[in-house]
Symmetry: C2
Amino acid sequence: MSTASKQIIKNLSVDCVVFGFEKNSLEVLLIKRKGNPEKGSWALPGGFVLKTEALDEAAVRILEETSNVKNIYLEQVHTFSDINRFPLRRVISVAYFALINPEKHFLKPGIDTTDAKWFEVNGDIAFPFDHESIFAKALNQLRQRVRNKPIGFELLPERFSLTQLQNLYECILGESLDKRNFRKRILGLKMLIPLNDFEKDVAHRAARLYKFDFKTYQVLKNKGFNFQL
Amino acid sequence: MSTASKQIIKNLSVDCVVFGFEKNSLEVLLIKRKGNPEKGSWALPGGFVLKTEALDEAAVRILEETSNVKNIYLEQVHTFSDINRFPLRRVISVAYFALINPEKHFLKPGIDTTDAKWFEVNGDIAFPFDHESIFAKALNQLRQRVRNKPIGFELLPERFSLTQLQNLYECILGESLDKRNFRKRILGLKMLIPLNDFEKDVAHRAARLYKFDFKTYQVLKNKGFNFQL
DNA sequence: TCAAAAGTGTTTGCAATACACCCATGC
DNA sequence: GCATGGGTGTATTGCAAACACTTTTGA
């Protein structure tokens, strides 16, 4: 079933900046466009809003349709409205940003896409349309977010080491952090539960694994915190 | 000239939450609606976007048209898209928030409005449509803003006392602050220039007046700061 | 002389920073 | 036994918080 038959709003789209963390690298999900304009180029997953849905719903649907990504945290970022941002006609686009753990999502191309793939955030990405600005704004928002809300639950495997968490923070912020201070502050938040499990098959002392205390995590997410990492 | 003749986008509007500070009270600008729906009720100034303008431009134009407010700081807040937020048809609305000094703006009703007036933010306001949510989101954003960016330049007269500035902060945050600590921190930012002028005709010791060092103010606005007021 | 707000410093505690060595493991 | 990353504690510093009295002015 094509989106067209579902009554789209022709001048309103949603674009999603989906961040994932894998192999110590922060990545962004792009899809290869099946149709014109910009056919064949790698773009942010996006699509038109239906007459029957709110923007949040559209974002969820579009991510599922274009790349098979489901059940994730989404947050509205900004609305882009340059007159010529889309070449065929005037379309304004609402940007969303999302965090997921790539390992939990098997990408597959969907409607309007021939492929879906992760790209390194720090690599050189040639975005079509105004997706460069959209991406930049979303990345910026992610960097703000990490300093006053807990983050990681959405991006890491269920059990992880403190070093993994620190790597995640370092990737997002683009700076390196002091190990001892990082641990002190993170553990001080009491949002991690230490497990009696350790890394396996590593050529060095095995790191203890932790999981998120989901309840505390949610509380912190609501009330936020305020420290320098 | 009516907006209709300028080719509006019928499903896309902008609503503005304009904050002003006067007589130690934080206020929001509302306009009285001339037409249906919600004729006669006090609403956020808003209007439809033209096919020929970006959202930021629309916000500027709409504020000027509805209430004669010009030349102000505007910032996009959020896009509201509930299917039934507007009763006549599906309209999504992009909210902006703005800060102005009421004394510098002579309100007068414009297109689609029969009146324009300031309302106390802390009073009971009966908003039409989903303007309650829009207002709440904007106020929330203002409260965030005040903690990590300088604010006040847009809301205060050119020359003002430290007490006025403190009152402004207290109004926005809805809590009272310690005078000595407030002064230490504000002066520490080096964004104020002390003048050799003082309050006049007050029945107590006259307060020194300050003005903003616009350059430092702008620098701080870009790089932000991070302290608890 | 009283009322009302302006103006001013110090102490205390906490949280951020900087920093270096021993531990466990696989090869 | 060596290379690799895991794990740990302390001293210092700077900033936030709490707090009360004197000064100026007009009525």
